[in-house]
Symmetry: C5
Subunit: 326 residues, 5 copies
């Protein structure tokens, strides 16, 4: 679906143009075309490939989707793949992270973005750019930066969510809350973390080549901006690695807490077994049928035996309390 | 076994030629020979080595098989080893992944592929190449790319299968399905993953040297194609690492679930032990043979004692229910 | 909040100057301005940005805070982010490590430090510098070094604290002190370690580029000083990795100790169960109502039976003692 | 012990020569001396050092043994240390891997090999070289390659043995065979793996510098041969890492199987305890001495009570069967 | 404390000289001064700094100690920090490894070594050097090598001790010796290993820069000697990593053995419980007070019942023996 197709001149919007006029505008040296598509049909994409003269392999990647994040040069064109990450629901109603894809083709005077599997578009990026013609004048390199910055900025609330989740699980582990749901939360958190990691890490690596040494022509002179994006990605990367590290420890600690709580149950079981078994033994003894058992004839034999049993149990109870078995 | 031996000129099939004429065709500057073999005998391979002038060490590798994936230069020839990965059955009837081998010799105007341990050939690659003479004109470098692309494309359904398997095991772990079969599945999945990893990782590394800086003469001008293959391999590599990471966590989580379920059994055991032991103790007391036990003479002594036992047990039962031991 | 704004000439304090005069002093070639701010408002920061001509992206970073430690060049300016680490309290009253941020802008003849989330300022650094004009004469590069050295020096007592904590937990693990609190301590220690690690590691990496090969103009000629800072950071880094490694082993060892203590409880339970169950069984036998049980008529039948029970139990007790079950 | 000392000319054996004539033969430009020693005395080694003009540090290493595998240049001489790996027996009669050492000194026209702690010599290498004078003509570089190739080839059966062992342990883990012996096997396998790894990894690293960029003079022109050796070492390296990875998972999985089998024992224990405890409780009740217990006077009271006990036990038994506790 | 202060000329001892004459001797081109200090006071160190013209930052490091091992260039001077490792005792009387420090300042014609926290000095190094004037003639670079070689040589017996300890613990794990002391030994071994690792790894890294490419002036021409030291350090490094790896597996295996032994205790408990519970149940049944219980009146009722109990128990016993629960 073609979302938008606009020609700009000197940083100002010229006109919404039909797709078939693109090649004409792209040919004008002072003109700049910015196209946004959402899950385009094969035909729509082929048309764009022809209008912009895109490389076959890049178009192939954009057609099939499911690429890893990357930034590739095809001659003087750039092809970038970024992943968006959004909250979603599993069939069971649990939270999960969904990964969408944004493919961007950048040439000297055009930008084409192809969005897949994510509802959130880049209208805000375009609106801001149109309000600030002095930025848009920088051309396609700036638009590329703006799109990237927008995608990366959306990772931060996701990351914050994961950090909050980790804190909640940590609280649960030590508060003896249900060990089962703790394990499930730890695993679910790990799964979400991996989705974010798979979006962030390859993109960070790719972005690191957009500043410093030899950079693609389109990005030249904007090194500080791309370094800023890299920096944000690196920050997220470090945070992800931090969460991963804590998660691994948390899984082991949780295992320890389960063993510990099992150990506590065993102690309780042992203590109560003793408290019940001792009177049973005493009662068994006085239930024996020997002829000659003097105690049986005592007037206070019965209450005395009960008293002995109770005394032993009280003594046991407090002893078990003292060693924390009860 | 010689599967195919065809000479091409200007991208078009010239003729199926007998093996002994190869050297003659290879000598013609505008001619190009493409040979496919399946588990050749030593003699067949030696013949090819002579016709094409292959390097002794490369032929040795192709003869013995069991090489790791690699791409080596011998002068201006290339020798590539790739692993195919296919589903198979263990003697016990379980699923497993089998690794086959494809060795490819590439010269300026010939390609020789040697297949071992895999039934699936490259007829489709040849058919497509013959339908598109404009591609075949690129010569041996293109054929090498096409073969590689084909091998790599076959990894994707395998990878998808492993991802599906992981999801099933994950579901099993938390659904309290048989812990034993979960462990076995996790281990089997790890084994399969390693087979795929051993096919993918070295090949990815080797492919990374076919574009960018100094590349072998045969591959020059095709950098974007080999980068595309590298990219696919890198994607699989990342997915494998992701599965591996989740698997490790899954093994530990499964361990936690086993401990947890043991803990639950112990609690149940303790609860029922108490429920049975208390009446036994009471019965023991009234089974004592003391002369002077007034309760024994009460008319309702017996039903009362039963009622007391039942009352204690009901109270215990609901208490255990409340603390989730039952 | 503006903490300090002082102009220096030839290493000597010239005057406390108002913020609006800064640009005037900075323009003088022999003058040097050093400004310290604490959690400045947006307006205050914007004013400084204008006076010093700071780069928009760096100012953005300083405004929002929560950057990872880094040192970036913007033309001939430097922008550094450092984390301070301080002891604090969680809402539950437990110890935790809090991370503050110090952003430093360094130009040819000015230094601007922006402090966030930490009470401890750099008055000491300034005081020492003013007492030693021969150092201050080195200009902004020296001040940058002095600030950095100060921040890094504050990591050492934190690190010492973590090492002491590890030793205490280690002692606890083997002294059979409460396993639960050991686990919690291990986890809390890991959390603190990660805070320190996130402060130290990126800064170390960044500092490594301030000496040796190509260094920023401002730092040139001070390589040995920055190497010294790097060296301190590297030492802390190694210590952190050492603690991390020991922590991981400690978590597993603790798990082993828990299993072990569970095992000991089970043995005790088994031993006492046997000691109680055997007399119960014997008593049960002599409680049977068979007509013909000769022992029942013996005069010393009862004491004898008690003696047998006691003998068996004493034997059991010493046997269990011998195999260390009791 | 001097095993062999032979002078060659033009690839053909000239004569077995006494040790003291070596320096004379080495001085002749067209001559080539190949010496093999087995655990030489200090004096023998010193003599050789003098005859060949070996570097003091290299001779020191060869004298003391226990070096890590390495290849070092001393001027235009090479000094290589390789480890052989052989099957042996521990004092307890268990299988273990023993590490021997081969030190090789290579000069322009001599090769000196010093063998320690391994019975298998290099007679086969020499025999083959003498049969193929066209190879021996290549001189010391070729002999070095041939020795290395021979040592590396001997690693393969060792590796195969370890892979077979892993498969056997894997089978044992899931076949519920003795968990104790599984653990011991896993640990023993890990120990053997480390022996092989310590032989292979440093040698692989060192061999990687014998082809490609700047190579020692002696090895020049033989790059493809040394790459082949490197390749074999890399293959073994990958296989070792694969086994290590599986071993780690296997240890954890085995832990899971132990927990699981403990859990099964606990369930069985609980089930049988219930089956025995319930009749005991019922019997206890009818063993009470209340005057007024109507059931005691029923004619079929006794068989009825037995029937009730049996019925409850049968019901319990099948229920436990159903939930797989029995 | 000044241990030694000697001037040498042409490799021969000239005289023991007082500290204040050092600068005079250092100024003579053919003279060479070698000073050894043990835990010097600040004043002693300052004096030396002045005599030799040492760099302030290096002197600072030497004054405070607790540096990580490193080798730094200050202009044409070298400053090296090495750790010595020695056996010591914890307050509890356990073995531990203590880390001392040796700081060495090396200039064109002087060497100053500062020893801290270790009793063992370098008298042997000096004695040997004085006996071999042809070595001492090489000057300060050679003395530096000799000191380093001496420190590194002292690591080997420590390493051997750790390897022996590992073997003992391994034996303990499988010999069912006290699991508790095994865990403690494993942890203590890990601690010792980390002390050695912190001494060896940074020094190895630093030494790697003393040969090969660009080396400090003082070390030039001695590359093979420093490579030899590097080599020894690398060997220790590999051995440490090997022990670490085995230790990690050992900790997990030990965990498995603990679980296993717990499992065995549970089985024993279950078996004996059954053997005691069954006769108790039978006795309970014949203890019931039903009027009509024909067995009670049989003459051989009592011995028969005892025989039945015994028979069941014998059967149980052998069955439990057969399945290895007993």
């Amino acid at each position: 679906m073609l979302v938008n197709c606009v020609a700009y001149q000197n940083g100002r919007k010229l006109a919404d143009i039909p797709a078939e006029d693109i090649s004409e505008y792209v040919r004008r040296p002072d003109c700049f075309v910015w196209v946004a598509m959402f899950e385009p049909s094969q035909q729509e994409l082929d048309e764009m490939a022809e209008e912009f003269g895109l490389h076959e392999l890049a178009v192939d990647d954009a057609r099939h989707g499911h690429q890893r994040p990357k930034i590739e040069e095809y001659g003087d064109q750039l092809f970038a793949v970024m992943h968006t990450v959004e909250h979603g629901k599993t069939p069971d109603g649990d939270d999960e992270l969904l990964s969408g894809e944004v493919d961007v083709f950048i040439g000297r005077n055009y930008v084409l973005s192809v969005r897949r599997g994510t509802q959130v578009g880049f209208a805000a990026v375009r609106a801001r750019a149109e309000r600030e013609p002095e930025l848009l004048q920088f051309g396609s390199g700036y638009v590329f930066y703006a799109l990237m910055d927008n995608v990366v900025d959306r990772y931060f609330p996701i990351l914050d969510g994961l950090e909050t989740e980790l804190e909640q699980v940590e609280a649960g582990i030590f508060a003896r809350r249900s060990a089962r749901s703790n394990i499930e939360s730890l695993y679910a958190l790990k799964q979400k973390l991996m989705v974010l990691k798979h979006a962030v890490d390859p993109l960070m690596e790719a972005t690191g080549r957009l500043y410093g040494g030899r950079v693609p022509q389109i990005c030249s002179g904007m090194g500080e901006y791309f370094r800023d994006v890299y920096d944000h990605l690196h920050r997220i990367h470090l945070a992800i690695e931090g969460i991963r590290d804590m998660l691994q420890t948390a899984v082991q600690v949780n295992l320890g807490m389960i063993s510990l709580s099992e150990s506590e149950v065993t102690k309780k079981l042992a203590a109560w077994a003793a408290i019940i078994a001792v009177p049973t033994m005493v009662a068994g003894i006085y239930g024996m049928n020997f002829k000659n058992m003097p105690e049986l004839d005592w007037v206070y034999g019965y209450p005395l035996s009960i008293a002995v049993m109770a005394a032993i149990d009280v003594w046991l109870y407090f002893n078990f309390k003292k060693v924390k078995w009860l």
